[in-house]
Amino acid sequence: MAVLIEQKTAAEPLQYRFSPYAMNGGTVVAVAGDDFAIIGCDTRLSEGYSILSRDVTKVRTITKDCLLGSVGFHGDVLTLTKMTDARLKQYKHTHGKDMPCEAVAQMLSTTLYYRRFFPYYTYNMVAGLDKQGRGCVFSYDPVGSYERETYRASGSASAIIQPLLDNQIGYKNQSNVDTSVKMTRQHVRDMVRDIFVAASERDIYTGDQVEISVIDKNGIETLSFPLRSD
């Protein structure tokens, strides 16, 4: 959160404005497979040209088959996660079971739109298993517009990563590719790691460590890999 100085030209009066938001950087990538979903995030928290922390995860396990990744203004990320956790707990006590992933996705959308005129400055992604056990990924904008997708990158390096995902997972701009070969968990996890390695070369807000979580019917497995710390 910063005090912004508004003065487009020297002729205008100088005005100081308080901004309730800050950009804390970070990137999240999620891929949905046939019976698994993978979500990865970097662990760097920054503000301006400084690093606030090298070890802050942006992905949280919210139910046994659902993970929520949020980047943007970290204050809103924490509050949104807290809100979501509370709502999920209420659901569990009322209905006696965990909220299914698609329902969590819908709920997040309405939660975000509730704050349409003072938004949560967060770019969210929900990854998990749907009712049929297939992998699902939902991506959001700050005010709750969401869509189920096979793969998505969001956050500061999203513009660098999304075209790479389009090419390697969506097979775009490629011909004579054997698309029938199913991607395994190991292959996708290695690819997501390589993607973060590439993104941290070119984006100053991405780096330090990448945490990749694989979710399938057996549970959630999280691995960390080191990235550039410059």
Partner: protein
């Protein structure tokens, strides 16, 4: 600063939050005995140092003497002041001349400082904190190189505007030694997957054959004289 001179720098050049050049050269040649590190707008530091380097060479030819650091300094500050800070070049100028080793900073508005140790740029606070902790008078060349590399390393690791590696240039009376890189701070991790595209990935829709010159039929020949 001691009997020799060392400057250092390197790293990436950024445009907003994107790294444009992962290993750009920030130590610019001014004269055989004078080098300049540039922070700020890359184009400004590049063109300014090239221009002053050119003027120093002309001065050397005019006077028949080796250039002095103060000459380069004077030219830089008068040039930058004329542009009232619009040329965003923050420079660290150093060299060894007949008056001994010298180190100066030049700010975009044209002011200069003469100091035993200096830092500039977005990582300058991180680097200066290392200097303030470790600097002592009359350090040896090895100690000074290490201190300078550690200062830059502090900038690389703690400042998001700096990164990659450390280059060091040691300017002594009579010779210059360039270490590029002196210290590799961050290396790119090995990729686990293979991302080479097989032949056939890009579909060829049409092609025109290159006709060899010998295959052409000569129908008419005319010899023209060039005088």
């Amino acid at each position: 600063r001691s009997k020799q001179w060392y400057q250092r720098r390197v790293r990436g050049a950024t445009g907003g939050s994107i790294v444009c050049d992962l290993n750009c050269e920030k130590i610019h040649y001014i004269a055989d005995n004078i080098y300049c590190c540039g922070a700020g707008t890359a184009a400004d530091t590049e063109f300014t140092t090239k221009m002053i380097s050119s003027k120093m060479e002309l001065l050397k030819l005019r006077t028949g003497r080796e250039g002095r650091v103060v000459s380069a300094l004077r030219m830089l500050k008068q040039y930058l002041f004329r542009y009232q800070g619009h040329i965003s070049a923050a420079l660290v100028l150093g060299g060894v001349d007949v008056n001994g080793p010298a180190l100066y900073t030049v700010y975009p508005h044209g002011s200069t400082d003469k100091l035993p140790y200096v830092t500039m740029g977005s990582g300058s606070l991180a680097a200066m904190s290392v200097f303030e902790d470790g600097y002592k008078m009359d350090m040896s060349e090895e100690e000074a190189k290490e201190l300078v590399a550690n200062a830059i390393r502090a900038g690389i690791v703690n400042d998001l505007g700096s990164g990659s590696n450390v280059d060091v240039t040691v300017i002594r009376k009579g010779n210059v030694e360039i270490f590029r890189p002196y210290k590799v701070v961050c290396k790119k991790s090995e990729r686990k997957g293979d991302y080479t595209f097989p032949v056939g990935t890009t579909v060829v829709t049409s092609s025109t054959e290159m006709v060899p010159f010998s295959a052409l039929n000569v129908t008419d020949e005319e010899v023209m004289e060039i005088s």
